[in-house]
C-alpha cells in the first residue's frame, strides 16, 4: 500500500487517522492540532486567568501525564501565566499506587513542577490496603471515591491553589453520561458534562481534555514517548462501569463520532429546576469543616464506621441505625483534621459555560 500523505501539510507521511474527523495526518500536524484543540477548549471556557495557581491531579496514568505535559507546553506557548503544580493522592495500595507514584516523581523532574503527595494514611489514618482488609472487596470503591475527592480538595488547599485540573477525557465523560442514564441519575446527568464545576467551599475543578479522545491521548503519549504507568487498580471491580466502557468502545469502533455525539446529547438534556432542587442544600460538616449535605460529611461517616469496626454503617441505612443505636461516637476515634478552604471562594454553586 502506498504511503498516505498528511491531509493537513500535504508533505509528510500520514501516521494516524483521527477518530473525530477521519483525517489522516502526520505526527507533527497531530501534535499541533491536538494541542491547539485543548488550547481552544481552555480559551472558550475561560478556564484560567493570569496568575492562577493550578494543581494537576496526577495519578501517573496516561491521561494525567499527557495533561501535565500539554498544560506545561500551552502555558509556555500562549503565556497563560499559570503556576502549575502536581497533586497526587496516595491511596495506599501496595503494588499499584506505590509504582504509579514513582512515575509521578519522575514527571516532577521531567516537567520541573512542584509535587505534593497526600496520603489517605496521613489524612484519614487508613490506607486502602487496611480498609480492604476490614471491609473486603465489595464496597471498597465507595470508600476510595469519597476519600479521594476530599483528599484532592485538601491537597489543593495545602498548595493554596485556585484550581484543580483533571485528566478526564471525552471517552470518560461519554461513559459517565451513559452510566447516569442507565442509573436514572438525572441530576448528575445534568452536571456531568460541565467542563468546570465548583461547589461551595470546594476548589474549582475542570477538565481541559473534555473533547480529547482517549485514542489521541494514548497516541500522543506514544509518539512523544511520555513516561506513564498503566495497570488497573488491583481493587477495582466496578463491573457496571466496565460494561459501559466496553459498550462505548464497540460503538466507537462502528462510528468514531459516537463519543462526541453522546457528550453532545448529555449537554442537550434540559434538566428541570425541580430535579436540580432535589440536590440537598450544602452545609459544613460539623466534625471536619468540609462541605457536606448532612451534619456529617460522607468521609467522616465512613471513617467513623471504620474506626468503630462497623464499616457498613457508611453504606447502608440499616447499618447506620445499628451504629447510632450504640450511642454517639466515642471521643477517642480518629477524625479528619479541620478543613480550612482557601479564601476568596464564592458561596454559591456556579458552573462556567462550556
Amino acid at each position: 500500500m502506498a504511503p498516505k500523505i498528511c491531509a493537513l501539510c500535504r508533505k509528510s507521511k500520514a501516521m494516524l487517522k483521527r477518530p473525530k474527523t477521519g483525517q489522516q495526518i502526520c505526527k507533527d500536524c497531530f501534535f499541533y492540532v491536538f494541542e491547539t484543540e485543548v488550547h481552544n477548549t481552555i480559551i472558550q471556557a475561560k478556564l484560567f486567568k493570569p496568575g492562577d495557581r493550578v494543581a494537576i491531579g496526577a495519578s501517573g496514568g496516561k491521561d494525567s501525564t499527557v495533561l501535565a505535559y500539554v498544560m506545561k507546553t500551552l502555558n509556555e506557548r500562549y503565556q497563560y501565566g499559570l503556576d502549575l503544580f502536581l497533586l497526587s493522592i496516595d491511596e495506599g495500595i501496595t503494588g499499584y499506587r506505590d509504582d504509579s507514584l514513582e512515575t509521578v516523581k519522575r514527571n516532577q523532574q521531567q516537567y520541573d513542577m512542584p509535587l505534593k503527595i497526600l496520603s489517605y494514611d496521613e489524612l484519614y489514618g487508613w490506607t486502602m490496603d487496611a480498609i480492604v482488609s476490614q471491609v473486603g472487596r465489595k464496597n471498597n470503591c465507595t470508600f476510595c471515591g469519597v476519600f479521594r475527592r476530599q483528599a484532592l480538595d485538601r491537597g489543593a488547599a495545602m498548595l493554596n491553589v485556585d484550581h484543580i485540573v483533571t485528566g478526564h477525557n471525552a471517552d470518560d465523560i461519554a461513559e459517565t453520561v451513559l452510566m447516569n442514564i442507565m442509573r436514572g441519575d438525572i441530576a448528575r446527568l445534568g452536571r456531568c458534562t460541565s467542563i468546570c464545576t465548583q461547589g461551595e467551599d470546594t476548589i474549582r475543578r475542570s477538565k481541559p481534555f473534555k473533547y480529547a479522545y482517549e485514542k489521541e491521548i494514548v497516541m500522543y503519549a506514544y509518539f512523544k514517548k511520555l513516561d506513564y504507568f498503566s495497570t488497573e487498580c488491583i481493587y477495582s471491580p466496578d463491573a457496571y462501569r466496565g460494561h459501559a466502557r466496553v459498550f462505548l468502545k464497540d460503538l466507537e469502533a462502528a462510528r468514531p463520532s459516537a463519543i462526541i455525539d453522546i457528550i453532545h446529547s448529555g449537554e442537550a438534556f434540559e434538566i428541570k429546576d425541580e430535579v436540580k432542587a432535589t440536590q440537598k442544600l450544602q452545609q459544613t460538616c460539623q466534625r471536619c469543616g468540609y462541605m457536606s449535605s448532612n451534619a456529617l460529611c460522607k468521609a467522616c461517616t465512613l471513617l467513623e464506621g471504620l474506626e468503630r469496626g462497623m464499616a457498613e454503617s457508611g453504606i447502608t441505612d440499616r447499618a447506620r441505625k445499628r451504629l447510632e443505636a450504640e450511642g454517639p461516637a466515642p471521643d477517642n476515634i480518629r477524625t479528619i483534621p479541620f478543613f480550612n478552604p482557601p479564601s476568596g471562594q464564592p458561596v454559591v454553586t456556579v458552573e462556567a459555560p462550556s
Binding site: 501516521m15 506514544y222 488497573e232
Partner: protein, 119 residues
C-alpha cells in the same frame, strides 16, 4: 522458504496478558495456512495446507494462540483485536495500513497499546 522476523511490542497494560513482556521477537513463515491454523505442524514448510502471505490479522491470532498467557477475550474479539486496543505498524496507525489485511514484511515493528487502562 523465507521467514519473517518481527519485533512485537505491548504497552498500556496489554503486556499483562503476555507474561508482562514489553517486547518480543516473533518468527513467522512468509506464507501461512489459509485456514489460519497456528500450530507447529501447520507452519511446517511441507504441510499440504493451502498458503497465503502472512498478514496482521494472522499475527493477532498467532499471538493469541501461541503467546497469550491469560484472558484471551481481553485481546481478541470477533477475530480481530478488541476495540480500545491501538495497533501501530512501524509507528503508523494500522487504520492507515489496511488493518488486518496488511501484509507483514521482514523486520516490521508491530505495537499493541491498550487504551482501556486507568488514566
Amino acid at each position: 522458504m523465507s521467514q519473517l522476523s518481527l519485533k512485537v511490542e505491548f504497552g498500556g497494560g496489554i503486556e499483562l496478558l503476555f507474561s508482562k513482556k514489553h517486547t518480543i521477537t516473533v518468527e513467522l513463515p512468509a506464507l501461512v495456512p489459509t485456514d489460519d491454523s497456528t500450530d507447529d505442524q501447520s507452519l511446517m514448510e511441507d504441510t499440504a495446507k493451502e498458503k497465503k502471505p502472512a498478514n496482521l490479522a494472522y499475527l493477532v491470532l498467532y499471538l493469541r494462540d501461541r503467546l497469550l498467557t491469560e484472558r484471551a477475550e481481553l485481546f481478541v474479539e470477533n477475530g480481530t483485536v478488541r476495540p480500545g486496543i491501538l495497533v501501530l505498524v512501524n509507528d503508523t496507525d494500522w487504520q492507515l495500513e489496511g488493518e488486518g489485511d496488511y501484509e507483514l514484511k521482514d523486520k516490521d515493528n508491530i505495537v499493541f497499546i491498550s487504551t482501556l487502562h486507568g488514566g
